[in-house]
Symmetry: C2
Subunit: 213 residues, 2 copies
Amino acid sequence: MKKQPEIEKNPSTEEKIKEAARRVFTKKGYAATRTRDIAEESGFNLALINYYFRSKEKLFDIIMLEHLQIFIHSVMGIVNDPETTLQEKMEILISHYIDMLIKNPDIPLFVLSEINANPVKLISKLGFNKVQHGNIYLVKQWKELAATQKQLLINPIHIIMNVLSLTIFPFISSPLLRNRTGMSLEAFNKLMEERKKLIPVWINVMIGNSNTN
Amino acid sequence: MKKQPEIEKNPSTEEKIKEAARRVFTKKGYAATRTRDIAEESGFNLALINYYFRSKEKLFDIIMLEHLQIFIHSVMGIVNDPETTLQEKMEILISHYIDMLIKNPDIPLFVLSEINANPVKLISKLGFNKVQHGNIYLVKQWKELAATQKQLLINPIHIIMNVLSLTIFPFISSPLLRNRTGMSLEAFNKLMEERKKLIPVWINVMIGNSNTN
DNA sequence: GTCTATAGACTGATAGAC
DNA sequence: GTCTATCAGTCTATAGAC
């Protein structure tokens, strides 16, 4: 019943710095971020960052690892659920991603940029390659479907690409799009809410129509 | 009949530096690029960069402007062609973009990252907002179609998003995707070639099925 | 734990020789 | 035009006071 000692009644200094770093890194990227920016954003002194995290790079690794875990961990529960159908998984996944992206619209561009800038480090060193595809329930269901759908000529990787593209890309291009059209953030988010229902419909008609072409 | 003096028989020093800058900036982004990297890549000395371009930022602006013009100018001829139908325009546009992206896969992530990092400068200062939508032939055709399709409940902006998402996003996520699946660059490019035909089909069934849902 | 002050390395830009 | 040498400013990281 007793809580662990010091489980942040209100955020500790270390946690505040980490949150500040998350905001600054995610917005500006690793190279453009100065340790001074994080200090200023956190309200503490520059020296404290190195006191808690030893270096800018170590702090960055922590932030990036947490971002990747948000995307991977949160999804694992969905794709590994034996209770839901393939169709339901897709709907839940898209809805879940869009919710997350409305809250954290800068994450995809940040993650993809940093992976592009330093693929070796971010993919191998951060333990990002430990996921075992074979054991995932979604993959099992997918294979079962593929076995029955002998007519389906399209490469399944196209479908995966399409789900991710339709879900994530609008957020990546949001600054440009909103500027060009004069759309407000609220209007944009409302469009994204609409897409929770639209994308699964689109994906279904894609699968249904690609082989009868 | 006489050519302009010195229209690069083989590339001038200035042109070589610009090409080197294009490669380095596009790969690493503005902040992570050091003037010394460009010098090394070009084979010339650091001082020459400032001799020709005065500053790192001025050189960057030139590169970025050229990238934006590639994307805008090359597209203008297509969307303004009165000879082609809306359907044909879409097919040509997608095919044209995929060709360009296979040759320059780093451009979208680069452009979108830099716009995200500095929206005010890159959208207004670089004269990126001079396009007059009203005069474009594609927009005219679009409005004509919309007038006849009174059943079409879906916001047209979704369709534009979808075309761009399905075309561009695979290139942005290519480093991650290829690493996760072990796919070669050749195999990836072949998939993208397939998408030249697939995306227009998908867009058509989207338009056809979204309102009968 | 938190601060000020500063060391030590690096960066963009320029002066000046050739 | 192209180079070497170097300046002035900025950056990360640390030493040391409190």
